[in-house]
C-alpha cells in the first residue's frame, strides 16, 4: 500500500532553493521545515543540485518522446518538490506540502519579477555568487508569504 496520508492537507511552503547554471546556490530560505538534512548547509546545496542535475539527465533518457519543459516536479509521501529552469540554467526549486498543485507561474515570477529585477539588474550584485541584496531577500519573503497556499499555522 503506498504510504498515503489521508489527513486534510495543510497547505504550506517548506523552503526554496535558487541555483545558477554552475550549481552555485544563489539563495536559500525556509519557512516551515521540521526536518533538517543532517549535513552542513553547503553539503545540502551540493546534494540538492546534484540530485536535480541527475534527474534532468534521467528524465531526458527515460522519456519515450521528445520533451519540451522536461522535469516539473516530484513528490514523496510527505512533500512535493516543484522545479523550474530557464534556458540560462537558473533553477528555482520550491518544496511544498502534497496538496499544492502546479505552480509554474509562481516559480516564473520568482525568476522574472524578483531574481531578474533585483539581482540581475542590480549593478552591485555580482553574478555567480550567493545573493547579498537584502531587498531581494525581503521582497522574496513577502511574496512567498502572500501566496494563497502559504499558511503560517503549520509553523
Amino acid at each position: 500500500m503506498p504510504h498515503f496520508e489521508l489527513s486534510a492537507f495543510l497547505m504550506t511552503v517548506h523552503n526554496l532553493y535558487l541555483f545558477d547554471r554552475d550549481g552555485v546556490c544563489l539563495h536559500y530560505s525556509e519557512w516551515h521545515r521540521k526536518k533538517q538534512a543532517g549535513i552542513p548547509k553547503e553539503e545540502e546545496y551540493k546534494l540538492m543540485y546534484g540530485m536535480l542535475f541527475s534527474i534532468r539527465s534521467f528524465v531526458s533518457k527515460m522519456s519515450p518522446v521528445d520533451m519540451k519543459d522536461g522535469f516539473l516536479a516530484f513528490q514523496t509521501s510527505r512533500y512535493k518538490l516543484h522545479y523550474y529552469e530557464t534556458p540560462t540554467g537558473v533553477k528555482v526549486v520550491m518544496n511544498t506540502d502534497l496538496g499544492v498543485g502546479p505552480i509554474r507561474d509562481v516559480l516564473h515570477h520568482i525568476y522574472s519579477g524578483l531574481y531578474v529585477e533585483l539581482v540581475v539588474k542590480n549593478p552591485l550584485c555580482p553574478l555567480g555568487q550567493t545573493v547579498q541584496s537584502e531587498l531581494f531577500r525581503s521582497r522574496l519573503d513577502a511574496y512567498i508569504r502572500s501566496l494563497p497556499f502559504f499558511s503560517a499555522r503549520a509553523g
Partner: protein
C-alpha cells in the same frame, strides 16, 4: 513596474559607464573615487549637452530660470528615467533641490541603507547630465547629489550668476 526594455538596456549601459569611469588605472581609494566621479560627471555633461540640442525649438521658449528647472524635473526626467521627479524646492536665490523618491538607478539596489556608500557612483552621471542640459540652455550651474536612504536621492542645482 519593471522598466521598458530600452530603459533596461540604457541602465545596463550606464553600469558599464560607471565601471569605465573607475577602470583604466584611475588610482584607488579616495583619490580614485574623486577621479571616477569627475570622469562620470564629465560623460554625463556631454550627454546633457547633446540631449538639449535635440530639444524641439518650442521647449526653449523659456525665459524664467524656474521654468527651465521645471522642464528638467518633468520632461528631461521623463525622457531619461520614464518618470518625473517627486519634489522641487528652491530658495529663490538660484539654489534648487530636485528630489526623486524612487531614483531608477537605485530602485533595484536597496530599500534603506544597504549599498549606501556605493550609491553616489550611480548619481554622478546624472549630475553631469543636468549640468550639461542647463549649460546648453545658457545656464551655468554646479550640480551635486546626495543619498541618505535608497532609493531616494536629491540633486542640488546651484546656478552660477553671471
Amino acid at each position: 513596474m519593471p522598466a521598458m526594455a530600452d530603459e533596461t538596456l540604457f541602465q545596463l549601459l550606464h553600469t558599464q559607464v560607471v565601471a569605465a569611469a573607475y577602470g583604466a588605472g584611475r588610482g584607488s581609494g579616495d583619490e580614485g573615487l574623486r577621479a571616477g566621479l569627475t570622469v562620470l560627471e564629465g560623460m554625463g555633461f556631454r550627454v546633457g549637452q547633446g540631449l538639449a540640442e535635440r530639444l524641439p525649438q518650442g521647449a526653449l521658449a523659456f525665459r524664467e530660470e524656474l521654468d527651465t528647472i521645471k522642464f528638467l524635473c518633468r520632461d528631461l526626467w521623463g525622457a531619461v528615467f520614464g518618470k518625473q521627479t517627486d519634489n522641487l524646492r528652491t530658495n529663490h536665490q538660484g539654489t534648487y533641490i530636485l528630489q526623486d523618491n524612487n531614483f531608477p538607478f537605485l530602485t533595484q539596489m536597496a530599500w534603506g541603507q544597504q549599498y549606501l556608500e556605493e550609491a553616489p557612483k550611480f548619481l554622478a552621471f546624472t549630475c553631469g547630465l543636468l549640468r550639461g542640459t542647463l549649460s546648453s540652455l545658457g545656464i551655468e550651474s554646479s550640480v551635486t547629489a546626495s543619498v541618505t536612504s535608497l532609493p531616494a536621492c536629491k540633486f542640488q542645482v546651484v546656478i552660477q550668476k553671471a
